[in-house]
Each structure stands twice: as structure tokens, then as C-alpha cells.
Symmetry: C2
Subunit: 416 residues, 2 copies
């Protein structure tokens, strides 16, 4: 089926800086060609020696072979990276021993072409789950060709190469000053359906020429994932391939940021956070069939985790998501979702706002309730649902989209 | 909007027996009249002295005022019942002090008209959440009229009076022999959306003229609820009003079943179970927009609870539900849902069947996989998804329906 572009698609691909120490190339292995679509479906990134990396991955108990390998490589290599290769069209999840064979063949080709250790090579695959691989070398075979063509990354070509039901390529970049040294950040992400917050969501990669110790990078990435990729949801379904990785080449030739006490840590963390958040919001704005982009903020909870659980119940409720799609300010369904979360709340102190419009307070509809004003908020393409559950001081937010006829259409036709 | 009848609507209302000790009447308070629909929206049941009762209710933390009262009445009255009154059109959930006033006015009218204790009267309401009540006496005012017209229950009229987005009235009846004494069971239920297994789901009542001790009845009902109403899901959203109650009048004039050791207990339990299961499956078959009725069975789990958690992740996945709607046998999404449950499973031993068709085994697509055969199963209006997760001996099943354009339409238009 032909996908209708998201109403939130940016007018143009964003400008990304050239991150020193990173080279890339893309190619086609024909995953889409057999459906009559001419496009690249593989990318390869090569990193200079000395590149640190960190990653968070799906918590799914049916994680893909690629995810299992990345976890292992992070452990074996101690957070150093020389290559990243990803394909779209087949997720290499639930592919049994063949999936491991594909990884072995790919790693062998990478090690030989780039002359780097296996455990410095990271793999990803996205597409249909469980589709067997006819040829275990289907990615490995293209590695020598990709290696020949490595050069300054064409970020848009890379961001397009791993799209599946995405309707636009997602990227985010910035250059920040770390104690006088200009340092570049470039990130790309893909994801549109099977998006739910549980560790990282779908595939996202951030590249920077900052110099950062792997352990500092890993701890920071886990914190940031929790507030960005783990705070978005399209449908509450968690992918078998979720991956968020960051690669820090150190090519800005500055001393390594080896601890949080480093004067440059805060600026580095802020830039990485901004890049991840931008990418995460682009994923949810390209949610399958999305016509609304909604921030769900929960305040007054007993803990940040409790606030997030409540926010996810609101954001994942099919009844609320269909009401968003219809522009129906059905706030009673927000009450329902708060209740079914089973988290500590005070029904007597519960208050709800749609943007600035107070719709409920103290356990009942607000005295000055204005249906027209509430409906006007829900008619907008972007708005915020804010809930105060009245039992504590903790707050957080998640981001989601609506559930439309488009979602039903896309997911009835995806494999065909 | 005009609701399209479920394809699973029975050709006719079932035949229900006259349960001795039960009288009923229905009336209209105009909840639907103002939308131009002429129908009754209140029912009253009156029970002879000596009627035992039991109930399970929503675990929601935003439970309706009616649910809160029923819990209190069960405690105060020790499981005895003289009246049950329910209305559709307004759920009396999140209505603040006004909701409690409505209950007080209703209970006062019931106690006066029927000359019975308050704590023997049970209340229910279903409809829009949070809609304030202009007149707290809106149900109480009709009680004297209802009391005048009490008589042998018109089961169909009662089952219709509490429908909301239901497209057909739901009822189930049987007469069984308890050690020579013919004993009657009649049950009615309503529910179509906001259906998720967490204690009882929506409103369901079973009436019997068996004589059963309240504590025996309560323990049995909790067990049965877990395998019937708590094992269905339409959309994973849990109602604020969920109620399942059973009323046993004892009018069959037999000795009370006072323990599980009673020779008649097994036959009584089987009849109650059959009635609850029939009602629960009717609810899911009338799921909002449903076009498919699907049994999800999980085997080989470490515990029954684990099996149920996995089954619910499959049954609630929007990606699987949209694939059901499209007749797309996308078994990779079943793998995804098993994984995101985070329950103990063995990916290497995981097997999946669609009806009798083996689609996956030992962690990969089945060697003899036949796409046409798998698709033929998904093209049927009713089928079973069976998964063996390969780590234990425990199994269970849940029942669900698909996610269609109809669901999106109904829930965008419900309040209007």
C-alpha cells in the first residue's frame, strides 16, 4: 500500500554537521526492489580507532539475533566501536540458527574488509519478524562494496536506508562548544509502529566527535533513554529490535570526558539529550496513521515511575487515542485510564487540564467546564493532556499520537 | 451514530427460565430519549427474603460511586440481597459528592418502597464517565413506579435496559438438577468497549433459585470470574463500573449449600461457570467494531498467571488485532507480543499454531510453513491462536476480538 505522509513531516531534511571520525555508505540488497520499490536498504558506518560507544536495547524476551549480538559485543569490546551495519526489510528476529549464521557471515565480512575486531562491529535489522533468510550472507556479501565507497556520511541517504513504514527520514544534529572545542552531534532514527517505551525503542543512532569514556557514556545514555525514547509510545507494542546507540569518535582531539565531574559533562549531556529527544519525538510524530501529536504530563504522583506508569496508561488507551483522532475531548476516559493504572492516586483531588483548559478538579467535572473550549484543544494537531493525581510531588511526561483509520489500514497491509 | 450489529449477534434472544424468588421491572428515565432513541434505561430486580449474593468488581482506582457502594453493602449485609437497580446513560463515575447523593436518594427510595434494609440493595450505572448529574434523585424518583410493576422478569427487556454501545442484548440460562431439585439459572450482561480482564468486566448479573451460603458463593464467583469475565478483552481498557454479581434466592426450597463438600456443589459450580462463560463470550463477540472472535491459548508456561499474562499481551496487541481484522496471518507479531510480556519463555522452544496449522516451532518459522493455510485460518470469523512457550506445564486461554475501522468510528462518536 502507498503510505500517506505524516502531517508532521518536516518540510526538508535537517542540516547535520560532518562528525569527524565517521564514514558511511549505503547500498541496496533488493529487499524492496522485489516489491517494485527502488531504494537503498543497507547502511554501513565505519569509525576511527578510539571510538567509544554505548547502547540500550529492547527488553523483549524475543529479542532479535542482532540485538543479542550487540549486547554481547558491548560486553566483549568494553564499549569500543569500529563499525555499524543495518538493513531494513527483514528484522532477523525469530529466525533461529539462520539468524546467528547471518550475523557470523556479516561480522566475518566486516572484520576482513575493515581489518577490525569482530566485537567492535555492531549489527541491526528491521522489518518483518520471523521471515527466514534464504542466504545467511545476504548482508555480508555487500560489505566489500560498501567499504570501497565509505566517505563523509550522506545523512539523508543513511536515514532513508533503514526506513520501513516510516513516512519521512528522521535526523537531528547540532554543534556545541565543549570548553572551547566545537563538538558535533548527528543522530538518525527509524520507527513508526510497534513503538512502546521499554528500554530504547526501534533503531536510533547518535554520532559525535566528542571524546567520552565508555562507562560515562553508557550510564548517561541509559538516563537519557528513559526520558526520551522510553517516553514515547505509538501503540504499546514493543519491538524485538529496539536499539539506541551512541558512538563518540573522540576526533575533536580533546581530552576524554572520563567522569561526570568533568566541566564539559553537562554540555555534552545536554547536547546528547537534545539530539535523542528530537529523534524520539520525530518517531512518534511519524506514528503509523498519526494525525495528532499529544504530550501526556502527569504531576502530583508518589514517584517519577508512578507518574510514568499513569502517563503510559493514558497514552496507550485505545479509547483515548480514538477520541484524540475524532477531536472528542472525552475526559472521562482519562479518568478511566488513571484508574486502571492501579497506581496510588486520590480520586477526590484528581484534576485534568487539556492545554490550559481545566476540565476536571477535586474528583468531578470542573464547575466552570466549557465543552467548546475543551473540544477546541482536541481539534488542534498538537496539544497536552495534563493530570494532577494529588498524592505526591513527582511528575513526568510521555508523548504519543492518535489511533486512526490509517493505523488499521497500514497494519492490515504491512506484509503484503 | 448508528451501530452496525455484530456479525456474532444471535438470531434470537435465548430462552431463559423463570427463577423463583426474583421479580423485575424496567422503565425509562429519558437518558436516551433526549438523543431521539425510545428505550428503557433502568431496571429493578427484587429478591425474596433469604437471597444470598456475591460480587466481584473493578479493581480500578477510579471506581464508580455505585461500585464503591456495592462493596460496602456486601460487607455490611454479609452477602444478603433484596434489590438490584441499574441504569444506562450515565456511569456515575467521577461525579464527586453528587454521585454519593444519587446513591443515597436511590437507596432511600428502595428501602421505603420495598421495606428492606439499605445494605441489601445493590446499585449499578453505565454510560459516559464524569458527566455530572443534574438531579441526584434521577433514579430514586422512578423506584415507586417500578415497584408497582414488579413481576416475573421479562429477561429481554432487562438485558436491553442496560445496553450502551452493545449491539445485542446478552443473556444465558439453564436449568440443572441439584440432587433431584430442578434449579434455575438466568444471567444477563452488557459490555462492548472498555473491556479488559481485571476482576469482573462491565455489568453482569446471574440469578438462581439455588440455596447457597454467601461465603461459598463469593469464593466460587471469584474463581469463576478469573476464568470467564477476567479472561476476555476487547481493548485492554478497564471500566470504572465493572461488576459481576450472582443472586441465589434459595427459592428452590432445598437445603442450603453451605460448603464445597456438599454433594450438589460441583453441579452448581458447573452451571454457574457455564452461565458466566456464555455471557463473557457474548460480551467479547459484541466488542466494539468486532468482525473476528479469537481464542488465544498459551501452553507450556511456568504458571497459569504467566500463561494468562502472555495471552493478554497477544490479545491486546493493536498490531495483532489489526492483522486479525485484515485476515493477515502475521505470526511474527505473535512472537513480538510473547517477547514484550517479559514473562519466562524459551525462544528456542517457542511454537505457534493458528487452529491446526503449525506456523512456528523451535524458535523459527516451521519448516513446512504454508502461508496459504495460515491465511485461510485468519480469514475465518472465529479461530484460535495457540502458543507453546516451552518452559513449563501451565496453560490457559483468553478470548478477544479484532481492531477494526468500526472501533475507531464508534469511539470517535460515542459522546455525540
Amino acid at each position: 500500500m502507498k503510505l500517506i505522509p505524516s502531517p508532521f513531516a518536516p518540510p526538508a531534511f535537517p542540516s547535520l554537521p560532518a562528525v569527524r571520525g565517521v564514514r558511511a555508505a549505503t547500498a541496496s540488497r533488493g529487499f524492496y526492489a522485489r516489491r517494485g520499490i527502488e531504494r537503498d536498504d543497507v547502511f554501513l558506518f565505519a569509525f576511527d580507532a578510539g571510538t567509544a560507544c554505548a547502547g540500550v536495547f529492547t527488553r523483549s524476551h524475543t529479542a532479535s539475533a542482532d540485538v543479542l549480538w550487540c549486547r554481547e559485543a558491548l560486553k566483549q569490546g568494553g564499549g569500543t566501536a569500529r563499525a555499524l551495519i543495518a538493513n531494513s526489510g527483514n528484522s532477523n528476529a525469530f529466525t533461529g540458527p539462520k539468524g546467528v549464521e547471518k550475523n557470523d557471515a556479516t561480522l566475518k565480512a566486516l572484520a576482513a574488509s575493515l581489518n577490525v575486531p569482530r566485537e567492535s562491529c555492531f549489527l541491526a535489522a528491521t522489518g518483518v519478524i520471523g521471515e527466514p533468510l534464504a542466504d545467511p550472507n545476504y548482508v555480508g556479501a555487500i560489505v566489500p562494496d560498501l567499504e570501497q565507497r565509505l566517505g563523509a556520511p550522506d545523512w539523508e541517504a543513511c536515514a532513508r536506508a533503514f526506513m520501513t513504514t516510516d513516512t519521512y527520514p528522521k535526523a537531528s544534529g547540532r554543534t556545541v562548544d565543549l570548553a572551547g572545542a566545537p563538538t558535533r552531534f548527528a543522530g538518525i532514527a527509524k520507527g513508526s509502529g510497534m513503538i512502546a517505551p521499554n528500554m530504547a525503542t526501534m533503531l536510533a543512532y547518535v554520532f559525535t566527535d566528542a571524546a567520552v569514556a565508555p562507562d560515562v557514556l553508557q550510564a548517561l545514555l541509559e538516563e537519557i533513554a528513559d526520558e526520551t525514547f522510553n517516553a514515547i509510545t505509538v501503540d504499546g507494542d514493543t519491538s524485538t529490535s529496539d536499539t539506541l546507540m551512541v558512538f563518540a569518535t573522540g576526533a575533536n582531539r580533546e581530552p576524554v570526558i572520563a567522569s561526570r565531574d568533568d566541566a564539559r559533562f553537562a554540555a555534552f549531556a545536554a547536547a546528547l539529550h537534545a539530539t535523542c529527544l528530537d529523534l524520539a519525538l520525530q518517531v512518534v510524530k511519524d506514528g503509523e496513521g498519526a494525525s495528532k501529536f499529544v504530550t501526556v504530563r502527569v504531576e502530583g504522583a508518589v514517584s517519577r515511575l508512578s507518574a510514568k506508569t499513569i502517563a503510559c496508561h493514558i497514552a496507550n488507551s485505545p479509547l483515548i487515542k480514538t477520541a484524540m483522532a475524532a477531536g472528542d475531548a472525552n475526559w472521562g476516559r482519562v479518568v478511566m485510564a488513571v484508574g486502571k493504572s492501579l497506581e496510588p492516586i486520590s480520586q477526590e483531588r484528581l484534576s485534568i487540564w487539556f492545554d490550559g483548559v481545566l476540565v476536571a478538579e477535586n474528583g468531578a467535572r470542573a464547575p466552570g467546564y466549557d465543552e467548546a473550549a475543551a473540544s477546541a484543544v482536541f481539534a488542534q494537531p498538537e496539544f497536552t493532556i495534563r493530570v494532577d493525581v494529588g498524592v505526591g510531588e513527582c511528575a513526568t511526561q510521555v508523548w504519543t499520537c492518535d489511533l486512526t483509520h490509517g493505523y488499521v489500514d497500514i497494519n492490515g497491509a504491512y506484509r503484503t
